[in-house]
């Protein structure tokens, strides 16, 4: 017997999350990591080994051959199984994301407690709704779940779900580069940064000049990491949309939990976008968007399509929170 071949390649920090999700049988967390597996050969290889090993517990000529034969009833119940219980809940979560977590949550309590749990869940929902109405005001929200701070949220089924991704946001910045400042003798020898604010929908969009750079700072006050995808659409007439972050085919770094003022590696020269109005759309998600989803988002921004369209992202994305802002680029 030869010794097993070790995995080659550099370590990947995502693997710790994958291990945790695997041991806890957390289908939702595993589904969130699926886009990463598309890109990371190290994690994909280890994932394959892990589930291959588990499947041998299921098909089990290997593992169960040494023990008692399964009964006829067991054979009839599961004649030719290949997928383990975690694989099935993972797949179910990817196919029907709304269904599985709820079922797991209900399965986790005993039957006798279910009516009580249902009653408490109902009461909690009413309390949450009341708190939200008090916080935001009944008439303050615009059409389609749009909020006065430029944020818009979406559930997996396209419904508005404001509580799904709370406490995340984006601050676009108008940056005058140090080099340009140095060119002008009177200008301070440091980068001027103007935050464009997060309430552009309330009035006239803020103005930048073509000499400026467009940058972004994000915050995530929640307790779990989130991913951000940014698209910018230029020109009222031409409407060309560009994926600003992450760059094409590049993996996105998650925005760590409980962090404020996270600088994104984006510095878009506004001269390249040309004068006129620029629309910015950001989407926060629990998992990284796939390349196909990024392109669908870009096209939707280009066409001004409905961003709450459930067909935009695979159901496994779960809830998403959109950020919209506009900037006027002057000469």
């Amino acid at each position: 017997m030869t010794s097993p071949r070790p995995l080659q390649g550099p370590a990947c920090s995502h693997w710790a999350s994958l291990e945790r999700a695997y041991v806890a049988a957390d289908a939702a967390a595993l589904a969130e990591l699926a886009p990463h597996l598309e890109r990371c050969a190290v994690c994909r290889r280890a994932y394959d080994v892990l589930f291959d090993a588990e499947s041998m517990l299921v098909t089990s000529e290997h593992a169960l051959g040494a023990t008692t034969e399964p009964t006829d009833a067991a054979r009839a119940a599961a004649p030719d199984r290949l997928l383990g219980p975690l694989e099935k809940s993972l797949l179910l979560h990817q196919i029907l994301p709304d269904a599985t977590p709820q079922r797991d949550a209900m399965d986790a309590v005993g039957r006798w407690r279910r009516p009580l749990v249902s009653w408490l869940a109902g009461a909690a929902t009413i309390a949450l709704l009341a708190a939200m109405l008090l916080h935001y005001g009944v008439g303050s929200r615009g059409r389609g779940g749009q909020r006065s701070d430029g944020m818009q949220s979406r559930g997996a089924g396209g419904s508005s779900e404001p509580a799904a991704l709370p406490d995340v946001g984006l601050r676009p910045l108008c940056i005058a580069s140090a080099r340009q400042d140095a060119d002008a003798a009177a200008a301070p020898q440091r980068a001027r940064v103007r935050a464009l604010g997060t309430q552009p929908l309330a009035g006239e969009p803020p103005r930048c000049t073509t000499r400026d750079l467009l940058g972004f700072a994000a915050f995530n006050h929640g307790d779990r990491p989130v991913y951000l995808t940014l698209v910018v659409a230029t020109g009222d007439h031409t409407r060309v949309a560009k994926l600003l972050y992450p760059a094409d085919d590049a993996p996105a770094e998650p925005l760590a939990a409980a962090r404020d003022n996270i600088a994104l590696a984006v510095a878009q020269p506004l001269a390249a976008l040309g004068a006129g109005r620029v629309d910015i759309v950001g989407v926060f998600t629990r998992r990284e968007l796939t390349a196909a989803e990024r392109q669908r988002l870009r096209r939707a921004v280009e066409r001004r399509s409905d961003l709450a369209d459930p067909a935009l992202f695979a159901p496994s994305v779960g809830a998403a929170r959109f950020f919209r802002a506009a900037v006027i680029i002057g000469e």
């Binding site: 097993p4 070790p6 394959d48 290997h62 997928l83 399965d107 986790a108």
Partner: protein
């Protein structure tokens, strides 16, 4: 034959009832996984072509998820007549997904060849040899992994083995296992977590998960 036999289930499934869709998924997922893992033949332009089975688990999951997502879209659910076997309907969707991917892959490969001119014939032979070597390595790895799992299973105590039999082999839900073993659902979850952690440890101990940074 599930949807052919149960008219009420078919109605609920077509209406988008999530429980019905879960039932349908649980009924057909294993069969479809076997079909994909075995490989299949299909006819294109009068020629019989063979597609080898999906080897990687991640790819198997990916194709299964995409197949069911397509099959569970409203248009597809309403388009299913309920008169022909649903398993065959799913296999057709899965087959199309795989064939499409292979065609896309072939196109990309052709693009690469055009960009780097060379001896195409010898390149084809080299690729075939490389594929064969990869396939042999995977087979060897499966044998090794099988032996490792046999040792892993042998090291479990009788209670854990019984748990594996019920939960993994028979595919019972955690609640059903709890009822059979007369323990709480929470205890079942704990048992499962312990088992998975041990499995992970066993794989790490033999070098299988070397190269990825794990939990401290």
């Amino acid at each position: 034959m599930l949807l052919l036999e149960d008219e009420q289930l078919l109605r609920r499934f077509r209406a988008g009832d999530r429980d019905a869709m879960t039932t349908v998924f649980n009924h057909y997922a294993d069969d479809l996984a076997h079909y994909l893992a075995r490989g299949f033949a299909y006819r294109a332009g009068g020629e019989l072509r063979h597609v080898s089975g999906v080897r990687q688990r991640s790819e198997l999951h990916d194709v299964l998820a995409e197949t069911f997502r397509k099959a569970f879209e409203e248009r597809a659910r309403l388009g299913y007549s309920g008169l022909s076997p649903y398993g065959a309907y799913l296999r057709t969707i899965a087959r199309n997904i795989i064939v499409d991917r292979q065609r896309r892959g072939a196109r990309e490969q052709l693009g690469t060849q055009a960009a780097v001119p060379g001896d195409v014939a010898s390149d084809g032979v080299e690729r075939e040899l490389a594929d064969e070597a990869a396939s042999a390595a995977e087979t060897l790895e499966q044998v090794e992994l099988g032996a490792l799992m046999t040792r892993f299973f042998a090291a479990l105590d009788s209670k854990q083995r019984h748990f594996v039999e019920l939960r993994f082999r028979q595919g019972l839900s955690q609640e059903q296992v709890a009822s059979q073993l007369r323990i709480s659902r929470k205890r079942v979850r704990k048992l499962e977590q312990t088992l998975r952690a041990r499995l992970l440890e066993a794989l790490r101990g033999t070098g299988y998960l070397a190269g990825v940074r794990g939990l401290p």
